[in-house]
């Protein structure tokens, strides 16, 4: 008999654990599920590749605003456009939150320039993959990061489809994620445009409400259908981004990944997240059941013995 009691006690404990786990999970899934379309007042930037001349003023402005180290080559050195590492053009790292790269497009007289920085997704993969909640999407539209709670696991870097977050690998005692924060602390939260936008002499970068930027982009495509590819990159990519692009060349010819999903990265993780409460609730009963079945002969023997004892 003793065993049955302990089994019952175990089941009770298991039930309590399951209830606790499901409540925990419910609170999380209500946050994760649904389709968040972004804050209505969120700001955005429209980058027009046809207007950019590759002057790198935005890079210089970012460097100054964010207090980043002085680069090896000055910002008016255009030989950086020829830099190739691992077969790839320049990318963001712990010393630069934005870079401009040059692309020679067949059939075009001039190269096209593309500015890279955090796109500030509506439903950011870095944020949803972070297990210490180090990322925040602010109502103003910026994706910001709190280095105080970061553990340095770098899952956000794996999850970001644009390869944006970078890690300060050079530090053992104060490493952190380094990425563009839309100049949130110094400008965006006061309603000001980020430093790079302000520095652009060509008006290649337009700052405004994200919804207005989509309108502006459509307008430009409509006015010059021969000039632009009929697509705003970032309107739907990975569920929409605050920074969006217009281009006169196909997007995959100017360094964009056109294979990224058209829905938030989180959606591909939901299959797994949804089995978690099921395993937590079904497994205990199922496997205790298996145990009872597998040991039924022993149990039957015990009952027989007990019956004999009662008789005698």
């Amino acid at each position: 008999m003793k065993k049955t009691v302990s089994r019952r006690a175990f089941l009770k404990g298991g039930l309590a654990g399951t209830v606790a786990a499901t409540t925990l999970l419910n609170s999380k899934s209500s946050e994760a599920a649904g389709s968040f379309e972004g804050y209505p007042e969120g700001m955005g930037v429209l980058v027009d590749l046809t207007r950019c001349v590759g002057c790198r003023s935005c890079e210089a402005a970012c460097n100054l605003e964010q207090g980043l180290p002085e680069p090896a080559k000055p910002f008016d050195d255009y030989s950086v456009f020829d830099e190739i590492k691992h077969g790839e053009k320049r990318r963001t790292d712990e010393t630069r939150y934005t870079v401009v790269n040059s692309y020679d497009v067949p059939g075009m007289e001039h190269p096209l320039f593309r500015k890279v920085q955090c796109n500030h997704c509506q439903e950011p993969a870095c944020l949803t993959s972070c297990f210490v909640n180090a990322y925040t999407k602010t109502p103003e539209g910026a994706v910001i990061y709190n280095s105080k709670v970061c553990v340095g696991c770098r899952t956000c870097m794996v999850a970001c489809p644009f390869y944006i977050p970078t890690f300060k690998y050079s530090s053992a005692f104060d490493p952190k994620i380094m990425k563009c924060i839309f100049c949130y602390d110094t400008r965006l939260k006061d309603g000001l445009p980020p430093a790079c936008v302000e520095a652009c002499p060509q008006e290649a970068l337009t700052f405004g409400k994200r919804s207005d930027m989509i309108e502006a982009g459509r307008q430009r495509i409509k006015m010059n259908p021969d000039k632009y590819v009929d697509h705003i990159y970032g309107e739907h990519e990975v569920g929409g981004t605050a920074w969006m692009y217009l281009s006169s060349a196909p997007f995959d010819k100017v360094g964009f990944d056109t294979h990224v999903p058209k829905e938030p990265i989180l959606n591909s993780v939901k299959d797994f997240l949804s089995i978690v409460p099921m395993v937590l609730t079904i497994w205990p009963g199922l496997f205790v059941g298996f145990h009872l079945l597998a040991t039924r002969k022993d149990a039957a023997k015990k009952i027989e013995e007990e019956k004999k004892e009662v008789k005698s």
């Binding site: 302990s6 175990f10 404990g13 298991g14 999380k28 899934s29 994760a32 691992h86 077969g87 790839e88 990318r91 949803t128 993959s129 972070c130 297990f131 210490v132 909640n133 180090a134 709670v149 970061c150 553990v151 340095g152 696991c153 770098r154 899952t155 870097m157 794996v158 999850a159 489809p161 390869y163 977050p165 970078t166 890690f167 300060k168 690998y169 050079s170 053992a172 490493p175 990944d257 990224v260 999903p261 990265i265 591909s268 993780v269 299959d271 797994f272 997240l273 089995i275 978690v276 395993v279 937590l280 497994w283 205990p284 496997f287 205790v288 298996f290 145990h291 597998a294 040991t295 022993d298």
Partner: protein
């Protein structure tokens, strides 16, 4: 040890008292009943220990370098490949190899297959150490290793897959400590503790199944965060978690076969007759389990290719690499296990287990490293990163051996139980 154990009947220690009735002290138990001088003598006679010394002589300074100058000093510090060997091998590779604990726990305690009892403790220990060292690898890789408890207590992000991994690995590690403690309690002679744990064995076992299903799966699900980075043949958004879970079954069982083979061969003085005489029979049983798990795994891998319509990828170079992995790491071990079980050829099963262990590590490295970022360049780890990985693995080996030599893992304690 082999030489000493032949000369003296009282060692290896398997009881609280000597044959003459005097008790062994804890120090003597630690030194395996040898004097410190004799212990050193046998330690330096073993060529494996010299290899370990060589690994540590370079590895320890490299580890210091990592903790003083940062990860960038010992790895390429890549922003494109945030996860390297420490996680690719240490976490994603070690965790499936450690599924043995919950597999044998389930077999013996839950399904009541007492015939597998002689290997249960080895499987539990293999699981515990694998997880413990996966966490150690994580501590090498994390940017801020001192913040390990943050996801638990300081700042919670419960919607993230890694949150599940962290919680489940932490709780499962405690479950496994509880499962291995009885062996320790026998060895130090504290039977109260053993009896206390005995009551909760079924609860611990079921907890082990739940936690293992979820975190083995969660390790796979981590890669669903990178649907545009990982090669489609190695990523199935819908089935990734079950691929990882299913492959951990044969990985864990194969690892026990490999470990028990090595122990039986190189530390036979420590094994008792109960272990030695049953090992072949048990190996065949485990091999049978492996071949079932492998055929299931093969089928669900093919289902994933069909489900995502990825047949065309099979004709590319990446496709050939994928087929190579399937043949060497899945199909060949699967047949070797099946033939070995059918003809009772234990040697063949052991070879198949070795293939399966290497195969699963290869699969995890492919997923985390080689087939990641397949559209850009391939990362080759820095030699220092490789060496540190070997160093931590050597530490794992030494700890494993230290415990097997002492605690009643592959032998039955003769004193009170």
């Amino acid at each position: 040890m082999k030489i000493f154990s032949k000369q003296r009947p009282e060692i290896p220690i398997a009881d609280h008292v000597r044959p003459d009735g005097t008790a062994w002290s804890l120090k003597e138990k630690l030194f395996l009943g040898l004097t410190p001088g004799e212990y050193m003598q046998q330690f330096f006679r073993n060529p494996v220990n010299w290899l370990m010394i060589a690994v540590f002589a370079v590895g320890v300074p490299l580890l210091l370098q990592r903790y003083i100058y940062g990860l960038g000093a010992v790895t390429h510090g890549s922003n494109d490949y945030p996860w390297g060997l420490f996680l690719g091998f240490g976490l994603f590779g070690m965790v499936p190899l450690s599924a043995s604990g919950f597999m044998l726990g389930t077999t013996v305690e839950l399904f009541g297959r007492k015939d597998f009892k002689p290997i249960e403790r080895l499987a539990l220990l293999n699981g515990l150490l694998g997880y413990f060292f996966a966490v150690l690898f994580l501590e090498v890789d994390l940017g801020m290793p001192w913040r390990l408890p943050y996801p638990m207590f300081v700042s919670l992000g419960p919607a993230a897959v890694l949150f599940l991994v962290a919680w489940h690995v932490a709780t499962y590690l405690s479950v496994q400590v509880a499962e291995v403690l009885p062996a320790f309690f026998e060895w130090i002679g504290w039977l109260k503790g053993k009896r206390a744990i005995r009551k909760y064995v079924l609860a611990l076992t079921v907890a082990g199944i739940i936690l293992s299903t979820l975190h083995q799966g969660a390790l796979g699900a981590l890669f669903t965060y990178a649907p545009s980075k990982l090669h489609p043949l190695w990523l199935s958004v819908n089935f990734q978690w079950i691929h990882f879970f299913c492959s951990s079954i044969f990985a864990g069982l194969s690892m026990v076969i490999v470990a028990s083979t090595l122990i039986n061969r190189f530390a036979s003085w420590r094994c008792d007759d109960n272990f030695k005489n049953n090992l072949d029979y048990i190996t065949i049983g485990l091999g049978k389990g492996c071949s079932y798990a492998l055929i299931t795994y093969l089928v669900i891998k093919i289902v994933a290719v069909a489900h995502d319509q990825e047949w065309a990828y099979l004709l590319t170079g990446w496709g050939s690499y994928f087929i190579l992995e399937m043949v060497l790491a899945v199909i060949i071990p699967m047949f070797l296990f099946a033939i070995g079980c059918r003809n009772k050829q234990v040697g063949m099963i052991r070879f198949a287990a070795l293939l399966a262990v290497l195969g699963i590590v290869w699969n995890r490295l492919n997923t985390a490293l080689f087939c990641f970022n397949w559209q850009i360049y391939q990362e080759v780890p820095h030699w220092k990163e490789v060496w540190i990985t070997f160093t931590i693995f050597a530490l794992y080996f030494l700890t494993y051996r230290f415990i097997v030599y002492r605690l009643p893992i592959v032998y039955t304690w003769k004193g009170e139980k």
